[in-house]
Amino acid sequence: MQNNKLIATNLIGRPYWQAPIMAARIDCDNSVAHNIAAAKAIESACRIEVSSQTKKLRELILAAEIIKNHTFDLYFDVLPDFLGLDSASELSKNHPDLYKNATKLQKFTDQILISVGGRAIHPITSVVGGFKSYPTHLDGDVSLQREASPDMLAAETLRLFSSFDLPVSKLQPDFAALHMDKEYACYDGEIWTSKGELYTEDKFLEFAHEQSFPPCIRVRDKLRRESMKRRMDPRASLSSHTAEPEDDKAIVVGALARYNLNQSHFDEKTKKILSELKIEKKIENPTALILAKAIEIYYFVILSIEILSHSAKAGIKDEHVIPPRKFSSGSSAVESASGIVVHSCELDKDGIILKYEIDALNNP
């Protein structure tokens, strides 16, 4: 049984404030995404409007978690394969410079998660209505890690992964991601698909049910089959593979979907490096997920530095956690490193959870 379903059932009958604490324990890789999604769903049910400072700090820890996951995937899972190594520990022996890049990026994100969330895994401070405590010297805390120039490391990462020849797959999946008018949506927004469908907050759950695991798994299995085929016969051309009609229905979420649907909202620095590296504006090849992750590492590092600099200039106010005004039902969707996390809840008049549903739409 999936962890999200187990936790959702355990939440029933519990007070509303326990949702973010328990939801963070669904998956340690996406603990921030689940924590924030749960907090947002409850806030929506309690009619709580959090401050812009809280939103920014949540975006910051979400960005940190995405960078951390992408860095781990790219450097410790993908890169050893490209370099013909067996494991990440071989990477540390044979390419210490690359290994150091990864560890420095991880230290940068860990420091953000510790300063804002209280610790690197399972945030403590992020609760319904805001933060239990605010990092008053956020930029100072992270400054040591910033000396390692994470933006340079992220640019180096992007250059490295854009230089690899990726196998071409003819799968042409649809994409779905959160979308906002002026931002590269991650924390907020409506769910858009490349087919032009739009799902607002009241329809998040409908989307999650429609696009549940089977289509995502179809794409993943297809890619695995292709990879196996390539291993058995290296001369076999992947491009000769013809897509089956059922593949057209598959929906891809995560980094590649976000890149394809939201890249117009990238900042100038990211746009500049993308044009410098001549990266296409639309990437339909699902195996280019690696490239999309490298792009996102760069974008989210720049975003994190921007938020940190802003907080250093403006300072961080010590705000109170906003109490609930009423109890009803609500839902939320948040982007995680590997897809979209949807939480939905219904509370009784005392704030006890009557219904809770968690859907995690993931791609590999």
Binding site: M1, L6, T9, P15, I21, M22, R25, D29, S92, A120
Partner: protein, 231 residues
């Protein structure tokens, strides 16, 4: 470099978020330091011929299959270490059994299924404590958990007592060792490290009565599983 040869260490996950084993390699320097003393690998239940010096188990056994794996691990390991709240007191997955079909229900803590030699509690566990445990075991020492309450560390950290402020906190009955990280960050202690040896749950419930309703107190004490579990 150690004089003694490396020992074999395997890790195995039952139902959990995977965060406890993430803690093991969270600090890359500390992890590579551990690799000087241990050959670290994942425990594969099919590899029945291999014996290990230490096996770390994270997670809560929810199904019969997982109980079988836990028993197999016990047979193949000299020392079994339960890592994190799920392996220790059930964790956030403790009350899940009702979801499973009857024949698959386990409803037992790991320590009730197999003999657990050592516990590194917490959700997530403290990496320094885990490293200390592994180093003690490497040198043949007995690893001991502190017996005092979280309040002890909380005072050292100069936090204002939450209970005195009429706020919820399970610090007085919870075993210390986390450096009161939750209270330091403004959150209450929710008992993820389990009870300290002489904890008085009835007294704690009485203390909490004026702060929160009784049913809520029970729900809080069950966030990280069965706080009353045998330590």
């Amino acid at each position: 470099m150690p004089i003694n040869p490396k020992k074999s260490l395997a890790t195995f996950s039952l139902t959990s978020c995977g965060g406890c084993l993430e803690v093991l390699n969270e600090n890359t320097n500390r992890y590579s330091g551990l690799q000087n003393f241990y050959e670290i690998e994942r425990f594969l239940p099919n590899k029945i011929e291999k014996k290990y010096d230490i096996v770390i188990i994270e997670g809560h056994p929810l199904t019969e299959k997982q109980i079988g794996s836990a028993k197999l691990i016990r047979r193949q390991a000299k020392i079994v270490v339960a890592l994190g709240s799920c392996a220790h007191i059930g964790g956030v997955y403790d009350e899940m059994v009702t979801l499973l079909p009857k024949e698959k229900r386990a409803r037992k803590l790991l320590s009730e299924i197999v003999r657990v030699d050592y516990i590194v509690p917490g959700c997530p566990p403290d990496q320094a404590e885990l490293t200390r445990c592994l180093m003690d075991l490497y040198w043949g020492k007995i690893f001991c958990l502190p017996d005092l309450a979280v309040c002890f560390e909380c005072r050292q950290n100069e936090n204002v007592c939450l209970i005195k402020k009429n706020k919820l906190c399970l610090g007085p009955i919870t075993r210390m060792g986390c450096n009161s990280i939750c209270v330091n960050n403004g959150e209450a202690c929710l008992g993820c490290r389990g009870l300290k040896p002489d904890a008085n749950i009835r007294k704690m419930t009485e203390i909490l009565k004026p702060i929160i309703p009784e049913f809520e107190a029970k729900k809080i004490m069950s966030i990280f599983g069965n706080l009353d579990a045998k330590q």
